[in-house]
Every structure is written in structure tokens, then in C-alpha cells.
């Protein structure tokens, strides 16, 4: 899961990066409206955390621009201005949720999880695929009740596959959603991670569709 943080205050941005990184997200950061507009338009984020008071272009305008450009990525507005007139304006511009500063990091993470779940069309907080379980809140996964020991990237990979478990996911898509933009992207490393993940959850659970990508297999008869 790849998230864009748009925040001009460096300390808060650093905290958010750390908190989201710890929760298993690949995180990009834009310190002003211009860069935010550009990144949001060009990179396929799974969610965006958007501060409204931004240098260069204000947050609402950036959001409106994304929506005009057809970017449907869920956006969580993070702002000091909590008046209803501002909330209504934010939602009218196309926001999906609204969090007022100061906020608790746990609340931000909970809202973000809800946003991601909703955009992927899942009803429950925990993800399941056969005996495979993933708890995004705790950033933990298990098979048959046995906790899995996953690295951060392995967790992100599994999370993404489980979020989109009914379709084939291309290698490029995985690269775009698992790494932040500063990462040295080499699609071959994806194969390495797929290999490691197969060892931990069982090789038959990830199917390679030649020329297209990968698909998570939820064994028939198992509850989904």
C-alpha cells in the first residue's frame, strides 16, 4: 500500500512518515501544493493524506485538480481548520475523510485503514484468504492461526495481494504500490520477494500468470 503525505510542516511530515512506515505503508512526501498535485497526478497511490494549508497551491485546489483529472484515490484531509464550513468545502472538493489537528496517530491510521478498505470494497477490518489472515491494524499476518514473521516489504506485498485477491496483479503495479518514489525500482526484486513470501505462506498460494503477473489463490471451500 502506497500513501502520499502532503504536509508542509517538516516535523509533522517526519512523524507521519515514520508512523505510516511502521504501519507497513510505502510513503511519499510532498511539502507543497505544486509537488503534491504533480505526484498525485502521476503516481498510483492507494491513499493520500492532505494538509489544507499548503505553500504555492492550497490543499482544496490541489484536491479539486486531482478530481478534475479523474484521480479517484481516497483522500484524507488533515487540517487545523475544523469549522464545518471548511469541512463541507473539503468534502465538496472530493475528500473522503477529514481529520482535525491535533490528532492521535492511532486515529489517523484507523481512518486510513477504513479508507483503503472501503476503496477496495471490503467490509471487514481484517483481510482473509483461506486460512491466511491479515490484520492491518496490528500489521500482522497469520496462516492457520500461526503468526507469520514478515519483513516490511513482504508484509506490504501480502497486504496488497490480499486487498486485491480476486484479480491478477502486474509486476509494474506491485512496484508502483509497494515502493516509495525514492526507492531504486527494479522489478526483478519483486520476484525475489514473491519467492520469499511463497516460502512463508505456501508456494501454491501465489500463482504466476505468465506475461501478466501474480494472483493470490484462496483455496476453494475455504471461507473468504
Amino acid at each position: 500500500m502506497r500513501v502520499l503525505i502532503v504536509e508542509d510542516e517538516p516535523d509533522l511530515a517526519r512523524q507521519l512518515r515514520t508512523a505510516l512506515g511502521d504501519a507497513g505503508y510505502a510513503v511519499d512526501h510532498a511539502p507543497d501544493g505544486e509537488e503534491a498535485a504533480f505526484l498525485g497526478d502521476t503516481e498510483p497511490y492507494d491513499a493520500i493524506v492532505l494538509d489544507l494549508g499548503l505553500p504555492k497551491i492550497d490543499g482544496v485546489s490541489v484536491l479539486e485538480q486531482w478530481r478534475r483529472d479523474g484521480i479517484a484515490t481516497p483522500v484524507l484531509i488533515l487540517t487545523a481548520r475544523g469549522a464545518w464550513s471548511e469541512k463541507v468545502a473539503g468534502f465538496d472538493a472530493g475528500a473522503d475523510d477529514y481529520l482535525t489537528k491535533p490528532f492521535h496517530t492511532e486515529e489517523l491510521l484507523a481512518r486510513l485503514r477504513a479508507l483503503l478498505r472501503r476503496s477496495a470494497g471490503h467490509a471487514s477490518a481484517n483481510l482473509a484468504c483461506g486460512e491466511l489472515r491479515l490484520d492491518p491494524k496490528a500489521a500482522r499476518a497469520s496462516v492457520d492461526g500461526e503468526p507469520l514473521r514478515l519483513t516490511s516489504l513482504e508484509y506490504r506485498l501480502l497486504h496488497y495481494l490480499m486487498m486485491h485477491q480476486d484479480r491478477v496483479i502486474s509486476r509494474t503495479e506491485l512496484v508502483e504500490h509497494l515502493y516509495d518514489q525514492d526507492f531504486d525500482r527494479d522489478s526483478n526484486t519483486i520476484e525475489v520477494f514473491i519467492g520469499r513470501l511463497r516460502k512463508k505462506i505456501g508456494a501454491d498460494r501465489i500463482e504466476t500468470v505468465r506475461g501478466l503477473g501474480y494472483r493470490l489463490i484462496c483455496l476453494p471451500g475455504e471461507p473468504n
Partner: protein
């Protein structure tokens, strides 16, 4: 509205007193002059009559061999005793001794006196000299008759000079003069009253713009108007303009302060956020203190931010906000916020209903109550707008949640109260609503809803739009 300050004379009274004093003086002088004029004219007429009588007598007098021959005078008033008209002819002997030669029968045994100027005055002229003189004593003990007399000195050949004195009772003339004076006085008093009434009307009507101005200023202060009308007379228009400029300036200052407070408050929120997050990620004694204190800072910031917003309400404004679009926007937004819980907001509002106040305040009031209702509801929230009164409208917001026990309702309107720490929110919601509604002269009351949850009734100032 009070025009008169204690201890300060009213302008109306001052103008009326001035006009009254001035017209009293003018009328008094006019009365005196008129009466004097009339008296003189009446006396002159009498004097002329008496003068011609004296002339007439003198023309008829002859001296034949030292004996004065008196013409026959048949006027009844000269013949009856004390009848009112008198004549006397006296001869001036040596050493200016007067010897009465003849007199009218009406005089009885009374003698007419000489004018105050005496013999010398008579000798200096050949015209009749008029004067006041005492007449015969009246029989009923009322003293002397008051006479107007005229004396004329004539010389016939070388005989000793003769003095002809003619007199008439002046009671009738005096009565005429008195009647005239009384009539004039009554007429002038009436005129004076008319003038005072006229001045009063003039002052009231003339100063009406001043009263209007005072009323309008009071309207502006009470928030019933946001500025004065510009339709004042030339003398007041500059004052009205200055007042408008002052009001505008005042608005501007408050608005600026409000913006400053808002900016400060919002600017503080990010650092507080950073501190809270930083403290949260490094557990320990220091972090606890920082967490607690930054929470307290946030509460203060939030409270004073709301106060600054509410303070601007006191300024009053004439803005009218249509209610329907506000409810529509809020319902749309909140259904979106609570879409995971499947909350549906059922609302109905008359399309022409207006709220007398700012849009952002109505959003804040209704938004907070509605958000609260959504938070606690099991899926159904209803908004009913009623207009039982012309000056206000009611907004009833109900939910089908678990409601709130009666004894805890007063608590939630207090600042920062939060009955359930687990439901996210600042806890300031309903207290802000209460503060805002009061600032607009409205109210918030809580009760039980038919739906099962809380019933919140808002009463807010109404306007048509």
C-alpha cells in the same frame, strides 16, 4: 431610546423655551405699544372735540362795555348737573387773579382748574391746551369725576383776557381703552399659544431626522441594522456618513482581530499535533507531561477560538443565510462521513426560510448537533424544521441511538464535556452549539426522541430571504 440625558437640557425643550421667551417679549411689547397707541388716539379724539368746543365758545363770546356776553349753549350735557360735559369762562384780572365769569349749569358749584402748565402755558399759545382735571364730586361718594379738559386763552380788544375751559367726563373713554387693552391682551395671549404650539410642531418635525438617527444608531448597536440609511438632510448626512464609516471601521477591527485569533489558534494546532505525536511515540514521564499539557493547550486554543468567533456575533449583522442549502450540504457531508455506519439523514425544510446570521455559524451550530446525532444513531437521523413564530424558527434533530439520561443533559452543554471518551470528537461540540445559539439570542434544549435517542431542539432567529 432616550434623547435626554440626566442633567442635560433637552434640545426640544431648549428650542421651545427660547421661542416662548422671545415671543413673550415681542407680544408684551406689542401689547403695550398697541394699548398706548389706542389710548393716545382716543384721548386725541377727545381733545379735538373739546378743542373745537372751546373754539366754538370763544367764537360766540363778546365783550360789550366790559360785560362778557356768553352765547347760548343748549347741549343737555352742559345743562344737567354732573351730566358729563362742562364749561367755564374766567376773566384774568390784574396779578393773574382768575375770576369766574360764567359756567355751565352742569358744574354745580365746582370750579374747573387750570392746566398744570398754568397761566404761562396758556399765554404762550393761542390754541386750546388739553389736560386732565378733577371734576365735580360724584353724589354716591365715589370721589371726583375724572375729566379731560381743554383751556383756551382769548383776548377781545383791550378787555382783560378770558380763559375758556371745556371739560368732559373721561370715564367712557377710559372704559373703551381698558376694553381695548383686555381684548388685545387676550388676542395676544392666544397668538402666543399658537406660536408656541407652532414652534413645538416645527421642532418635533424639524428634529425628526435627529430622532431617526438616534433610533438607527441604536438599531445598529443591537444588530437590527448593519448601517445607517443615507437619506438624511444635508446637515445630518455628514454625521450619518461618519457614523457609518465608524461602524464599518469597528466591524473591520473586530473582523481583523477575529482573523488574528483564528490564525494564531490554527497556527498553534500543528505544533501541538507534532508535540502530541512525538510524546506518544516516546513513552515516559516527560512524554506524559507533554501529552497532558499539549492536550490542555489544545483545549484552550479551541475554547478561545470559539469565543473569538462568538464575540463577533455581538456586533450584530444583517446577513441572512438560507437554511435549506445548509442542511442539505451538512446532510450530504455527514452521510459521507458516516457511510460505513450507513447513517441516513431524513430532513425537510421550507425553501424560503432564512437564518438571521452568518452561514458559517449556522453550519457550525447544525453541523455539530447533526454530527453528534449521527455518531450516536443506529442508522436513522431526522431533521425537522418548524416555524411556529415569526421571529424565530426551530430545528429539531433526533436520532435512534441510545439517548441521554435526563440528569446528564445539562453536562453535555458544558465546555469540553464528553460522556464517552471512546467516540472520537473534541467533546466541545454541543457546548459550542449552546454558546453560538445564545450569541444569536437562541437556545438549545435536550429531550427524549420518539426514535429512541436524543431530541435536540434549536431555536434560532428567523428571516425571510
Amino acid at each position: 431610546m432616550k434623547l435626554r440625558l440626566p442633567g442635560k437640557p433637552s434640545l426640544v425643550r431648549r428650542l421651545i423655551l427660547l421661542a416662548t421667551g422671545w415671543s413673550l417679549i415681542v407680544l408684551l411689547v406689542a401689547g403695550i405699544v398697541l394699548s398706548a397707541q389706542f389710548e393716545r388716539a382716543a384721548t386725541d379724539r377727545l381733545d379735538t372735540d373739546l378743542g373745537s368746543l372751546a373754539d366754538g365758545l370763544s367764537a360766540g363770546i363778546d365783550v360789550e362795555g366790559g360785560v362778557v356776553v356768553i352765547p347760548e349753549v343748549n347741549d343737555e350735557r352742559f345743562t344737567r348737573t354732573f351730566a358729563g360735559r362742562y364749561w367755564q369762562i374766567a376773566e384774568v384780572r390784574a396779578d393773574n387773579v382768575l375770576v369766574s365769569v360764567a359756567r355751565s349749569r352742569s358744574l354745580g358749584d365746582t370750579q374747573l382748574v387750570l392746566p398744570p402748565s398754568g397761566m404761562a402755558g396758556l399765554q404762550a399759545t393761542n390754541k386750546p391746551v388739553p389736560y386732565d382735571a378733577p371734576g365735580p364730586v360724584r353724589p354716591n361718594g365715589l370721589g371726583h369725576q375724572k375729566l379731560r379738559a381743554s383751556a383756551l386763552l382769548i383776548r377781545i380788544d383791550d378787555n382783560p383776557p378770558l380763559i375758556i375751559m371745556v371739560a368732559e367726563d373721561r370715564t367712557a373713554v377710559d372704559r373703551e381703552i381698558r376694553t381695548f387693552a383686555t381684548t388685545t391682551a387676550i388676542a395676544l395671549i392666544l397668538l402666543g399659544l399658537f406660536i408656541i404650539a407652532g414652534v413645538w410642531i416645527q421642532v418635533r418635525v424639524g428634529l425628526q431626522p435627529l430622532f431617526d438617527l438616534s433610533r438607527e444608531v441604536s438599531d445598529v448597536r443591537n444588530g437590527r441594522a448593519d448601517r445607517l440609511a443615507e437619506s438624511y438632510p444635508a446637515e445630518l448626512a455628514p454625521l450619518a456618513q461618519e457614523l457609518n464609516a465608524l461602524v464599518a471601521h469597528n466591524h473591520e477591527v473586530v473582523e481583523r482581530q477575529r482573523t488574528h485569533v483564528g490564525n494564531l489558534a490554527h497556527a498553534l494546532k500543528t505544533p501541538i499535533s507534532v508535540m502530541m505525536a512525538e510524546a506518544g511515540s516516546h513513552p515516559g514521564a516527560l512524554a506524559d507531561v507533554v501529552s497532558r499539557q499539549s492536550k490542555a493547550m489544545h483545549d484552550h486554543v479551541e475554547h478561545h477560538l470559539q469565543r473569538a468567533r462568538a464575540a463577533a456575533r455581538a456586533q450584530g449583522n444583517r446577513e441572512v443565510t438560507p437554511v435549506e442549502p445548509v442542511i442539505e450540504e451538512l446532510a450530504r457531508t455527514l452521510e459521507r462521513i458516516f457511510r460505513d455506519r450507513g447513517v441516513s439523514i431524513d430532513w425537510r425544510c421550507p425553501p424560503d426560510l432564512g437564518f438571521r446570521g452568518e452561514r458559517q455559524d449556522l453550519l457550525e451550530i447544525v453541523g455539530n448537533v447533526l454530527e453528534n446525532a449521527c455518531k450516536w444513531s443506529a442508522g436513522k437521523v431526522s431533521v425537522t424544521v418548524g416555524t411556529p413564530e415569526t421571529e424565530s424558527f426551530t430545528l429539531i434533530i433526533e436520532d435512534d441511538g441510545s439517548g441521554l439520561p435526563a440528569d446528564r443533559r445539562a453536562e453535555v452543554l458544558k465546555r469540553g464535556a464528553r460522556l464517552d471518551e471512546k467516540t472520537p470528537g473534541t467533546g466541545l461540540g454541543l457546548s459550542i452549539v449552546d454558546e453560538l445559539a445564545r450569541a444569536y439570542g437562541g437556545s438549545v434544549s435536550l429531550g427524549d426522541s420518539k426514535l429512541g435517542g436524543l431530541h435536540v431542539e434549536l431555536k434560532l432567529p428567523r428571516a425571510e430571504h
